[in-house]
């Protein structure tokens, strides 16, 4: 078994109104940032998973999203995998 890190982004579907995003954008406009045309606010989750392969880790993350982490009625998710401990590496 190998450890993987799953970086999961959960966003409201584009068709669903995101009043938080609207409020943040309005605030940025008030501050003078007229270049900001839209804002959507979402969630970022980081999981450490044990799996046999990268594909296995991806399938598990997908299952977790479908079961609990995202609500398929109004949200969509994106999964990115990285080897666990990558953040500790470096040159």
């Amino acid at each position: 078994m190998v450890e993987y890190r799953a970086l999961i982004k959960v966003m409201l579907k584009p068709t669903v109104l995101d009043p938080q995003g609207v409020a943040v954008r309005n605030s940025l406009l008030t501050m003078g940032y007229e270049a900001v045309k839209s804002v959507r606010v979402g969630k970022h989750l980081e999981l450490t998973l044990e799996a046999n392969s990268e594909n296995g880790a991806y399938c598990l993350a997908q299952e977790l999203c479908d079961e609990l982490l995202a609500n398929p009625v109004v949200e969509e998710y994106h999964i990115e995998l990285a080897p666990a401990g990558e953040e500790k590496g470096g040159t």
Partner: protein, 233 residues
């Protein structure tokens, strides 16, 4: 009528429901802790309001995996009456017992106030005491009550009369001004296909005694009592 009031960690309307049922309606009510799995012998299960699991992740998302919810699912499948109020409604949609989702209010405010609702279906076990089009005055207290559902389901639910309550003016007009949270079609409460599971954002248990400002909650909770006693709408 024997009623279970489920208590999740973070429920905060459980005592209100218990009090309204026992003291104001004379119902035999019992608290059921969320770790219990035996709910046999009950006629009605109420999922009360509050902030189960701190509303972490999404309101109701974690509570739906509480052990008691397996029994509630089975209870509902067998035709048992389930009433979800506020956070209880959020748990029911997360559990898939009702369609749709409840999102942050479009105004981003936590709305704690009296609202008026129009009864659009009086032929359910939860509204049998009401007249069609009757306007009830009930309080709300939520930040995430904006009902959302895909357009096909909305059409099916609309056509079949499963939208039971809509936010409306005192005259019964379900207009934008009467909508406190941006809910689709002013939806405040819906039933499932079978008609035995109802979720609603307003709190009938906070309005069963004039001492607390109103008694219109009796139209809802009293309907349940009638239904259980008579066995039909």
């Amino acid at each position: 009528m024997k009623c279970a009031v489920v208590v999740f960690p973070g429920s905060n309307c459980d005592a209100d429901v218990y009090h309204a049922l026992t003291d104001d309606l004379g119902v035999d009510a019992h608290y059921v802790w969320h770790r219990e799995s035996d709910i046999t012998g009950y006629d009605v299960v109420v999922l009360p309001g509050g902030f189960s699991y701190g509303d972490y992740l999404r309101a109701g998302a974690i509570a739906r995996f509480s052990p008691v919810m397996v029994s509630v699912q089975r209870f509902a499948q067998r035709g048992g009456l389930v009433l979800g109020i506020c956070n209880g409604f959020q748990i029911l949609v997360e559990a898939g017992l009702l369609p749709g989702a409840l999102l942050k209010n479009d105004n981003l405010q936590f709305r704690c106030e009296w609202t008026t609702l129009r009864v659009d279906n009086h032929c359910t076990p939860f509204t049998s005491r009401c007249r069609k089009g009757q306007v009830l005055s009930l309080p709300i207290a939520h930040g995430e009550g904006r009902y959302h559902v895909d357009s096909d389901t909305l059409k099916e639910w609309n056509d079949a009369g499963r939208i039971v309550f809509r936010y409306a003016t005192a005259e019964g007009d379900a207009c934008r001004e009467a909508n406190p949270n941006g809910s689709l079609h002013n939806i405040a409460g819906i039933v499932n296909r079978e008609g035995n599971v109802l979720g609603m954002m307003p709190h009938p248990e906070r309005a069963t005694n004039s001492l607390v400002g109103g008694e219109d909650g009796r139209w809802v909770l009293g309907s349940l009592v009638d239904y259980v006693e008579r066995g039909c709408v």
